[in-house]
Symmetry: C2
Subunit: 339 residues, 2 copies
């Protein structure tokens, strides 16, 4: 089968790999309908994370091609969506809603889903079947649920976005934008997008942003305070993962407010004394997307939300290298790969 391999930073190729097979009786194998490139795939692309002939990808939707002997919840032919972390969905941590930290978790990035087929460990816990075969226009939205929508949704939940709340969003990438969509769905009163790109501002408005702040750093924090009676936002979604973005999030939140942070924190150190006196709630990490999948699939199926519009470039899998370049150069927010 054809699959994306990153040979080294900046060197993405589509090559032949062995087609995956069932290894454990709890596995399934899916034939992918679509996959995509994640903002986090740019870390190794840019040489910030180690990469060496690595199969890429952790987002996926597709059709079940084969199931192991113990698989009961999905069957061959089902159209399925899964999270970027495989989980049994039965352990104590899963049951508490933290499937991304399942005691048996498998990171799908270690398997690679930018490929024609993928093995899905713990298929019963990981995969959620859609109510039927989706019409083609729903594919991007369902694919978004696999990571970026689920991650933005978790960030909004972690930030306790809801009725009466002012939610500020640091980061105008796909996750930040879908965090705005989530905040809107959760009933937030006011959503402040921090963005200086006209195209992303437009998408932010479409997803529910009521205010745009173009300033960054201290000036951005000052602007958020101005918009919130000097107090700061009730809820802040952090969807970047840098020192500046985390500090911006902490400083833009009012005492007692909530930060949901989902940007993978590269090179970030938090000053304990500043955090202490901020009085904020801080929660985040790898999003337990599986917790939200049934609800997200329902909202997409019923066409109540359309997170698929975050994909602004669609390419065949064979052209994955161009997809990486486009995201690296910020010519695209999020690239969908068709099969």
């Amino acid at each position: 089968m054809r699959a994306v391999i990153m040979h080294a930073p900046g060197d993405v190729r589509v090559e032949d790999r062995d087609q995956p097979a069932i290894i454990e009786p709890t596995d399934a194998v899916i034939r992918l309908t679509a996959t995509c490139i994640c903002g986090s795939d740019l870390w190794p692309y840019r040489g910030i994370e180690h990469v060496d002939h690595t199969p890429m990808g952790h987002e996926y939707v597709g059709v079940v091609a084969e199931v192991g002997a113990d698989v009961k919840n999905v069957e061959v032919g089902d159209f399925v969506v899964g999270s970027f972390v495989a989980s049994d969905n039965t352990c104590e941590i899963c049951q508490a809603g933290y499937q991304s930290r399942c005691v048996h978790n498998v990171m799908m990035g270690s398997i690679g889903t930018q490929a024609e087929y993928a093995r899905i460990p713990l298929a019963d816990g990981t995969l959620v079947a859609t109510p039927g075969q989706p019409s083609p226009d729903l594919i991007p939205a369902l694919l978004a649920a696999s990571d970026v929508l689920g991650t933005g949704w978790f960030a909004a939940v972690a930030a306790e976005a809801g009725p009466g709340k002012t939610v500020a969003v640091v980061g105008d990438g796909a996750v930040g934008l879908l965090g705005m969509l989530a905040a809107k769905q959760l009933g937030a009163e006011r959503i402040i997008a921090m963005s200086r790109h006209a195209d992303r501002q437009a998408l932010a408005r479409r997803f529910g942003a009521t205010d745009i702040v173009e300033e960054r750093g201290d000036a951005g924090v000052a602007r958020i305070k101005e918009l919130t009676n000097g107090l700061g936002a009730h809820s802040v979604i952090e969807a970047v993962g840098t020192q500046e973005s985390m500090e911006q999030a902490i400083r833009a939140t009012r005492p007692g407010g909530h930060i949901g942070y989902v940007g993978v924190a590269h090179g970030v150190t938090l000053d304990g004394m500043e955090l202490f006196f901020s009085g904020v709630h801080l929660h985040g990490g790898p999003a337990p997307v599986r917790r939200f999948l049934p609800e997200l699939i329902r909202l997409i199926w019923d066409r109540e939300i359309d997170p698929g519009v975050v994909f602004d470039l669609t390419l065949p899998l064979e052209e994955a290298a161009e997809g990486y370049r486009a995201m690296d150069e910020r010519r695209a927010t999020k690239v969908l790969l068709t099969l």
Copy 2:
């Protein structure tokens, strides 16, 4: 009047100061019945925080001696308890339960309550009157409510201690011990005290600890995991404020679990990547004691709790210097000063 002044690190004296008077119409002046020395008073005593002829103390109970023209909620003769932060209790932040970050907050430490009298700003918001004049044996417990009990209580609430939860407590000082009492009151199923001092272990058991862990650092974390099916505690109270104690708290908490941290974070830096992948909820800061005061006073008045036993040394105000020495040398957990 007589008052405690710290001239320099390690140099505590009791001297004459002007008796405080009403400055703002929202002030009250109280005659102190008792005050005490806080673990945080040891930071300047040890030269870690700046000190220069500074009036000391921020915990207090006493009798209202004088009220400003605008004070309505307390009157001369009332026995009152207040938090270590004066707050209006009406602003948006106070109404959300974060009175320690009131938009008009005044740190009582900047006034100094280790003295015969103290001016209390924002008296209507800050002071809570007891149902009547307390019997003398209730004074230590009511004084504890002013800071250490309220702070331990906030830590337990921030850590979401409650029914079915295993709560680990890092720190066996007065705040940590009263965090155990709070966790017990909040219905925690299991309370693990991290302590290697026999006398404090005994007090921990009295306050509700079900398990004692003597190990520290990585060994302490491993022991907590052993006691929690390999997962870590649901809730961790951090009541020290050092790099080691914060790391211990983060590592001892299960993914999705909650940390309530109330140790003032001196020289602490948190690694963003570790925090991200821990998946914990982190909340803390200067405790909004005022939020809890009415309930704490009720529990004490009805003799349902006795936090006063954390005071293991009682001295007259004139002997404050010996109180500081005893706490610095760990001969005492918490020193009450009588007037």
